[in-house]
Amino acid sequence: MTQAAMSLRHTARRARRRGTALGLLAWLAGIVFVLPVLWMVLTSFHSETDAATNPPSLTAPFTLSAYREFFGASGASPWPALINSTTASVVSTLLVLLLALPAAYALSIRPVRKWTDVLFFFLSTKMLPVVAGLLPVYLFAKNAGLLDNIWLLVILYTSMNLPIAVWMLQSFLADIPGSLIEAAQMDGARLPTILGRIVAPIAGPGIAATALICFIFSWNEMLFARVLTGVVAQTAPVFLTGFVTSQGLFLAKVCAASTVISLPVLAAGFAAQDKLVQGLSLGAVK
């Protein structure tokens, strides 16, 4: 074997070893990042005294007492808050789709004149800080008797997610080749057929991802919920902050509550994983 071939094989082996090391590093970094989440889940299955030890007790016995506590063994039941969150997130997401789908259609498939300007107007409303409009909304709600009413949050969450949804849907609908729609029109297909047979199948995954992301943002929202709701209409994040008490141990309970309340978001996020980037970057990244 020649000198050259041997050195070539040597470099190849070195490159492979370097690749393995970098793979291990990626695994290590991933585990470090996910560790707090795993620790939260583990702690939620421990008793309060085992959850609050120093050094941490990794192998403490499993118990469901924190979850029993969370679901109202003593104190308030979480169900009203969970139902409120579900109502606010699901209904506002449906409303967003109802308003954003036609708008996105008018901005992509059959674009109005100056459609980019309209698109950027939608985005610009998202850049104004929510907090600046909070007081008038509060005063309006107070005078209209809408404080502590979940339907007020439905309206606000719809407006909060509408610009994002229009952008996302515009980008997903723009992926449909125009020639396909033209061909269908030539064959005499009418609007419902075009929407049902061409638009829906191609843009379906994108529409689903948009809905999931809107759901996540509504479910997570806390500033509006905190200011505008009280006992009746409080949402899950607001309920969660109530678990922190100044006396007694609450670590396992908070972990159980955080786990339960994050589950829908984790499920929605992983379901939308493939389209998550395109959605979150408003369609700028494919």
Partner: protein, 327 residues
């Protein structure tokens, strides 16, 4: 550019040709068609303007009144005095600085970390899909839950995981009294920032990974054949290609982190110099009931964000145009 040509083309036709009624009919038909195209857009536009723009107008009006909710009878017009009060309020000025430091710090650190992780994930290795999923998990925790987790479960000086690990390591290496810092009180802003970096790094990583994977590989191969090293390829090919993606990450991260309320509210309740603008405004109106001043602060925040947004929109539109022209 084409307008003079079309008018010249249609002008003689109009002179010789069809009666005026036909032209008017065509014009109104064209207008009806334009409205038919615009119609699907209208509900969304009207709804959005009503719900998001009208409150800003109201904020502007309220900001001109001396209005404390605890003394509703003394409400009166004061002109710009709320603005002078807000501009000279040291607490508010401090919160502007806090907001800038927090936003810039979190965005930059999570961008750098996200870039590093994206580079690691851009190569093929065993279980790459699983690791990518692991990285997304922090981003998919409800923000309030994440903030509570960091404050009580990780940072707590008595039984938090970080100090607990220090104790464990101390026992392991025979250190009798390992350090047990009280993270939130000794470095409040850094604590809030750490929790936010943890949540936002995955977001940056996702955007940058998408950027890396859209890189034309032929160019990298060609550069490698020409003898370019890894660093040179990264510096002169990868980084310029990633520029727009980095800008997008900065833009979107800033939009969300400038407005952050949950982490500040949960971890420090705005104490210890961590009150950012959203929290300060929330407090001015919700606890101090100073409606006029809260509104004036809100208007100033809006002006500030318009300045940032103008720049940000330019970034998005350049990316956007590129996408449209590519399609």
């Amino acid at each position: 550019m084409s307008t003079p040509a079309t008018t010249r083309a249609t002008a003689p036709a109009a002179r010789t040709g069809p009666p005026a009624t036909w032209a008017a009919g065509a014009r109104s038909r064209g207008r009806a068609l334009a409205w038919a195209r615009r119609a699907p857009l209208m509900p969304a536009l009207v709804f959005l303007i009503a719900v998001t723009q009208l409150p800003f107008v109201a904020t502007l009006v309220i900001s001109l009144f001396d209005w404390n909710a605890l003394y509703p009878d003394e409400r009166h017009f004061t002109g710009l005095s709320n603005y002078t009060a807000v501009a000279t309020d040291p607490a508010l000025r401090q919160s502007v600085i806090t907001t800038a430091v927090l936003t810039a710090g979190v965005v930059l650190v999570s961008l750098v970390l996200g870039l590093g992780i994206a580079l690691l994930l851009d190569r093929r290795f065993f279980g790459r899909g699983i690791v990518r999923t692991l990285f997304i998990a922090p981003f998919l925790l409800v923000p309030v839950a994440a903030a509570l987790l960091w404050k009580h479960v990780l940072f707590n000086p008595e039984y938090g995981l970080i100090d607990g690990t220090l104790t464990w390591l101390g026992h392991l290496f025979g250190v009798a009294h390992p350090p047990q810092p009280d993270w939130v009180s000794s470095m409040p802003l850094a604590s809030v920032a750490t929790a936010l970096v943890w949540q936002w790094t995955p977001f940056m990583m996702l955007i940058l990974l998408a950027g890396l994977q859209s890189r034309p590989m032929e160019m990298v191969e060609a550069a490698r054949l020409d003898g370019a090293g890894n660093w040179q390829i990264f510096r002169y090919l990868t980084l310029p290609h990633l520029r727009r993606y980095l800008e997008l990450g900065i833009l979107l991260g800033s939009i969300y982190i400038v407005q952050n309320f949950d982490a500040v509210f949960t971890i420090t309740s705005g104490g210890l110099g961590t009150a950012n603008l959203p929290y300060t405004i929330y407090q001015t109106f919700y606890q101090a009931h100073e409606y006029g001043q809260a509104s004036a602060a809100g208007v100033l925040v809006v002006i500030g964000s318009i300045a940032i947004a103008t720049f940000a929109l330019r970034v998005v539109s350049s990316l956007f145009r590129e996408e449209v022209s590519r399609a």
